[in-house]
Each structure stands twice: as structure tokens, then as C-alpha cells.
Symmetry: C2
Subunit: 164 residues, 2 copies
């Protein structure tokens, strides 16, 4: 493994240049905390890490929401319509005390991660392929060093210079 | 755990109560504009409307990004790594001048919409099921009246009262 020397390519952005620090949760945290952490930080998803700060899963926002919506409601729109309105604001309380690990698949998909020196194209292609608006950035040991959000990626691309 | 006091159902929120006005695009708009509109408005997705302001598609943010990432890059991580870094920031220019209609499936999935009187549970279940962080709210004629974002949904739920 060689470390790229960047004399002439210094202006090309890499994942590390647009990554931000993000709060994380573990599989032992309650679902309600996971939902809150994501909302308070205005993140489009959430990184679940293991005890060594390595991403165990990178969840899109809708997957975090999914943790809080009882499965029967997700699958059956007709059932959802039978829930009276007084209960329809508090459905999430059914699962909020369970942990992220309790309600996650036992074998989550490979975490959506890139190395710190990934190009923006690599990040974009990964987001598009995995339908994930959040990508975890890891170091050589697989330890989380930050994350790239879809919003940050887009605003970092030259899209805004196209005809402005 | 405290349960909100609900003297009647007037206080139960519906989609209309948390919907926000969102900018839209049509199939004739360039992809670059679609990406910009989403980013400038800090939306997690985008509503594509027809000439009568009815949702034609509700795209998650990663689907909007997908419009701007040439298909070959999405499918082939090895190919992405061969793109030199100078080009890796401007890949999107290949497709930016094409229109949303040009690069969308000819038969998009049924738009992710709810009626204005949908409960928050209905909105949540739909987002979770369709993996869409944005839901369009329509009136009786199917005309767009607003949209609910995942962030707005979460902050509107009582999640924040659970143990704060």
C-alpha cells in the first residue's frame, strides 16, 4: 500500500476534505436515542459503531425511522389506517425502549464506508448505488474518522459554478 | 414517560400540519438544476411535478444524485477507481445538461404521496416502506399542496418528550 504523493493534485478534493464529525450510537443504545441523535444533529442518517469505533452499520434516515415503526405498520397500509388518531402520534413508543441491536437485522449489510482518500466521484457513486445519503469515512484500521452527507457532497461539487 | 394530554382530536397532528412548501422541478428541467434546487433548499429529496402541479415522482436525495452520476460509475466500483482525480470532481458535468426526464425511468414508481389528513403514523409508515425521506402532500385532485420531510416528521413526534 502506497501513500499517494500529491504535488500537482492538491486541489482535487477527497472524502477527508468534506467529512464532518458526527455523533454515533451503538447497538446497545435505545431506538429513541438513535432517532433523537439523528434529528438533533440534522443528519440524513446515522453511523452505528462497535466498541472500537468501527462502523457496524451506516443507516439511512428512513432506516433509522424504520427501527421506530412497528413492522406490521410498515407492511400493511390498511392496518395503519385502522389506528385511531390519538395513537397515531405515539406509535413509536412501542419500540422506543428497545435497542438498536434489538430491532436491527442480525446481519446488517456491509457498512457504507470509504477511505479518507476516496474521490468525490467514489463517494457519489457509493451513495447512489447504496441509496445512502450518509457515508462513513474510515482510516486504515477501519476506525471512523468522520462522515460525508449528501448535502455536503453536492455543495462541494462544482455544480454551483455551472451557470451561476 | 408522560403521555400528552389530548382533550379531543383537534390536537392530533395530520400531514397538513407539518407540511412545508417546497420548490419543485419538472421533467423538462436540467439535472443540474434539480440538484441545485434540492441543495439550496436543504431538502432530503425532490418533488417532480407535471404541468398541472401533480407529483410525477418523489425522488429521495440519493435518487436525485443518481440522475447526475453516469450509470456506468454507479454499477462498477472498479471503473470509478480508474477515473483520474482531476476528473473526479466534475463527473456530473457529463449529465448535467440533460433533463430530469431524459435520465429518469420511463415509468417511474408511483409517487410517494399522502392526503392532507393522513396521520403521522401513515406518513412514517410510508417513508419507512418506500425508503423516502420526503413525502408529497396532495389535495383531492392530486395537486401538490406541500411536503413532509423526515426531519420535520421526527421533530413533530413526541419523541423529544420521552425523557427530556
Amino acid at each position: 500500500m502506497t501513500t499517494p504523493v500529491r504535488t500537482d493534485r492538491a486541489e482535487t478534493m477527497q472524502a477527508r476534505d468534506i467529512a464532518v464529525n458526527v455523533p454515533t450510537v451503538t447497538v446497545d443504545d435505545p431506538v429513541a436515542k438513535a432517532v433523537r441523535v439523528m434529528a438533533v444533529s440534522r443528519l440524513p442518517g446515522l453511523v452505528v459503531v462497535d466498541a472500537r469505533s468501527r462502523p457496524w452499520a451506516v443507516l439511512a434516515g428512513t432506516q433509522v425511522l424504520r427501527l421506530a415503526v412497528p413492522g406490521a405498520y410498515q407492511e400493511d397500509p390498511a392496518l395503519v389506517r385502522t389506528v385511531d388518531e390519538d395513537h397515531a402520534d405515539v406509535f413509536w413508543q412501542e419500540l422506543a425502549d428497545r435497542t438498536v441491536g434489538d430491532v436491527s437485522p442480525s446481519r446488517p449489510a456491509k457498512p457504507v464506508t470509504v477511505r479518507a482518500d476516496a474521490t468525490l466521484l467514489e463517494v457519489a457513486a457509493l451513495m447512489a448505488r447504496q441509496h445512502s445519503p450518509l457515508v462513513a469515512v474510515v482510516d486504515d484500521d477501519g476506525v471512523l474518522v468522520g462522515a460525508v452527507t449528501l448535502e455536503r457532497l453536492i455543495t462541494s461539487l462544482a455544480v454551483f459554478n455551472a451557470d451561476d
